[in-house]
């Protein structure tokens, strides 16, 4: 696993790495470039993503506001009618 991703994973899952001091120390001791160390310490996720040749924010929408089934007004109307007729 690449060093930086491995370090981030450890920071995410190690209870001993949840305080500022322990994080800073671990970053200092890690085998990543000094540039990446600085980005981690200053919590610059965007620039870190850039340095890893990816983007921080990618699109995260996964849900439409309404169902496709009632997209057309006509089908909504006929649904209503059939509900009334039942």
């Amino acid at each position: 696993m690449s060093n930086i991703i491995q370090l981030l994973e450890r920071m995410g899952q190690d209870a001993a790495l949840q305080t500022e001091d322990s994080i800073l120390q671990t970053i200092d001791e890690s085998q990543i470039s000094s540039e990446q160390k600085e980005l981690l310490k200053s919590r610059k996720g965007d620039e870190l993503a850039e340095s890893l040749k990816t983007s921080k924010d990618i699109i995260c929408f996964l849900i439409p506001a309404k169902d496709e089934d009632d997209e057309s007004e006509n089908s909504e109307e006929s649904d209503e009618k059939s509900a009334v007729n039942q």
Binding site: M11, G12, G45, C60, F61, L62, I63, A65, E68
Partner: protein, 270 residues
């Protein structure tokens, strides 16, 4: 070999939330589709599996998300039909405010394939921990922000109200990645029918990278129009009113209690 599908949640924070079962599905898959919100999280998935295909390619500004979601489901199903063990790895919980995972599981089952969902830690779970609120204290309602605007919803100002996808509030086109101040103003007017304009609401953003700072910004409802809002921002509206007792039900229950007491006295003790 028969194909199968597992849609697994990897949680909100890189490294912190993925459960052993989700990780195991990913590691044992033939192919992994990723629906995550951060490029670094995608790199992390690539460390777990050699063939991770991003679902990001299906999004396009100006293209209806209905089409995007259909294409995602098609891409996933095509691999299942080829007899592969397919995993959809989604950030948060794959079943929470997410259409493609539900639809692809339904479609796979309809074609006779095994399909499961493995839950994950959602934005709401993080919000509960970070803001220190309990949905059970006053109750909690949640809606997708645009749906909340398009339809006449009955909501209760004596409970928490959580609005998801606030960054897209009021988008009728289904093809944008953000709406702005004008759309949000319409939402504010809708909310102001129920809440005072100076009611304090919270803009929440969970940590995605372990180095991220959690955003929990309190502001007045009226200030929402000018606030900085992103794709991954969630709006939390704490209750503005006290819970009102329901005298009719209380009375019915009181009658039941009295009836019980009478019954009890009629039963002879042994």
């Amino acid at each position: 070999m028969a194909g199968s599908l597992a849609c697994v949640g990897i949680g909100m924070t890189l490294g912190a939330h993925i459960c052993p079962l989700a990780r195991s599905y990913i590691e044992q898959a033939d192919v992994v589709f990723s629906g995550v919100s951060n490029g670094i999280v995608e790199l992390w998935l690539q460390e777990m599996h050699g063939d991770v295909r991003s679902l990001q390619v299906y999004y396009d500004e100006g293209k209806s998300r209905h089409v995007t979601y259909r294409e995602m489901v098609d891409a996933i199903l095509a691999e299942v039909r080829q007899g592969k063990k397919v995993v959809g790895a989604f950030y948060g919980h794959p079943g929470v405010f997410a259409q493609a995972p539900h639809r692809s599981i339904e479609a796979a089952r309809a074609e006779g394939f095994e399909a499961v969902m493995v839950p994950g830690i959602s934005a709401e779970d993080c919000l509960i921990a970070d803001l220190g609120i309990d949905p059970g204290q006053f109750g909690c309602q949640q809606f997708e922000a645009s749906q909340f605007m398009f339809y006449q919803r009955r909501f209760d100002p004596s409970c928490y109200l959580i609005l998801w996808q606030i960054g897209l509030a009021g988008d009728k086109s289904m093809a944008r990645f953000a709406t702005g101040k004008a759309h949000r103003q319409v939402l504010i007017e809708l909310l102001a029918e129920t809440y005072p304009l100076d009611h304090q609401v919270i803009l929440y953003e969970a940590a995605v990278l372990p180095i991220d700072k959690v955003r929990k910004q309190s502001l007045a409802l009226r200030e929402l129009a000018d606030a900085e809002i992103f794709m991954h921002t969630t709006l939390v509206i704490p209750p503005s009113e006290k819970m009102r007792p329901n005298p009719t039900i209380l009375e019915k229950l009181a009658k039941l209690e009295t009836a019980h007491r009478v019954d009890d006295t009629l039963i002879p003790e042994n």
